[in-house]
């Protein structure tokens, strides 16, 4: 009589365990299998030989170059912007807050089209630039502008929340000790938020590197000029499949490196606190 409820408890627990294991395994496999499949589709020889393919090399360098420049601009402009935005109340702040997040929900193709409509040769602003012989669309500059538009929220949002969460007493103490605002920002605010800022920067770099939709709409797909790695993967589908595969694997490796970097930084931050 007594053993039956215990027995049914045991069965219940076993079923729960099996259910949980199946759930975890299926989610993991769903995410991991496609990535693993990429590696199985090629051989090391094929991978390394196509690494020297000029299309691969030019796409790799163009991607690294544009993503680095985009990141630089986002950090140089985004950091002081986020700080000023956090520390001051001004009319329309809520609207600015919403605009910062807009690129996260806007489909990248729409962002690309919007940039084209504004900056294109016959665009609202672009038509005046073209009077001076300046053309932005379908240049490397357009690639960078598209990346900045799409990837900047990852850094700016992070910077904003770090500055908001920093105990105001640190900056206030520094002020009472006679430090100028610039000195406080450089010696107190930045070092105390550095780890978080770096992980935001790494995420931005990753997003810029993977940018596809806005780039192809606004910058086109010119090898060596605007054909970044994701675009070259797309072209590879129609032409040289191995090239597409090699670039994809390179992107997977870079993505993993980025994730590991962010994890390590987050861990360091946690152990600091």
């Amino acid at each position: 009589m007594n053993s039956s409820p215990i027995f049914s408890d045991k069965i219940k627990r076993t079923i729960t365990c099996i259910g949980a294991a199946v759930l975890v395994a299926s989610v993991t496999l769903y995410l991991a299998l496609p990535v693993v499949a990429l590696f199985f589709r090629t051989t090391p020889e094929l991978f390394f030989s196509s690494l020297s393919n000029p299309d691969v090399i030019s796409a790799l360098f163009l991607s690294l170059f544009t993503a680095t420049v985009s990141l630089g601009v986002v950090i140089l402009v985004g950091t002081p912007f986020a700080y000023v935005h956090c520390r001051n109340n001004y009319p329309g702040k809520v609207i600015v807050d919403t605009l910062i997040d807009l690129p996260l929900v806007l489909p990248p193709a729409v962002a690309g089209l919007a940039l084209l409509v504004l900056w294109g040769r016959v665009g609202i602003l672009g038509q005046y630039l073209s009077l001076f012989g300046i053309s932005i669309a379908f240049t490397t500059l357009a690639v960078i502008m598209a990346q900045i538009f799409v990837a900047s929220p990852f850094y700016v949002r992070q910077a904003k929340s770090l500055f908001e969460q920093l105990d105001p007493a640190y900056e206030q103490t520094a002020r009472t000790l006679g430090a100028s605002p610039l000195r406080i920002f450089a010696l107190i605010t930045l070092p105390l938020t550095a780890n978080g800022l770096i992980s935001g920067a790494v995420m931005t770099f990753g997003r810029a590197l993977g940018e596809f939709g806005a780039t192809i709409m606004f910058a086109g797909n010119l090898p060596g000029v605007t054909q970044t790695m994701p675009l070259a993967v797309y072209v590879g589908m129609e032409g040289n499949f191995t090239v597409g595969l090699t670039i994809s694997i390179l992107l997977v490796i870079i993505s993993f490196a980025i994730m590991i970097a962010v994890r390590l930084l987050a861990h360091r931050e946690a152990s600091h606190a």
Binding site: A169, Q172, T173, L177, R183, I188
Partner: protein
Amino acid sequence: MLDATIHKKLRDFSLDATIHAGPGEIVVLMGENGAGKSTILNSISGLISPDTGSIGLDGSVLFDSGTGVDVPVEHRRIGYVFQNSVVFPHLTVRDNIAFGLRAMHKPSAFVKERTGHWMHAIDIEELADVRAGNLSGGQKQRVALARALATEPALLMLDEPFTALDADNIRLVKELARTFVTEMAIPCLIVTHRIIDCRDVGDRVCVICQGKKEWEGKPENIPGCTCRSDGQ
């Protein structure tokens, strides 16, 4: 010499307080949490502006609503130790203490000499190169005190300096505060909510309740319960 008259409308009540403190005198502001004690310190330091009033320190006017004078925080020469001893956790003990002197662009030899002097005074020389974030509560409080005093302020203000410290450290911080305030002959304001702190360290006590000064006098004469306080 500090002379401050502060009026400020707060959310639940208005703050109306007049505070005086002479050279070498420790005035304790006592009262419940939310009575307006920290608002008084923040107003004097310039972190917030009173609605009306005036604040004078050693003959110079720091704030005067009548004439529109409002000296910026960084030029007030007030040593302010915040609650929970805010040391800069990423800087070493040495760099914490040197922070104010460097901000004032003092010559490096002078900064080095003064920093050494203060580390010796608070007996923390052996931890000079330790990051302040790794210090114990009592050590942090001592560093915060020395950092504030190294700039040779005209006024010292301590906000709840004894919370989160053990008995030994409370005694030590009280002794240090008393010694330095007497030596430097500067006025000192200490905010606390414990009666025992007033008796140990205060020359004069102001009991603040709902933004008003309820009572002022010698620590030994504090009435039993002017304003409800958890006298520990």
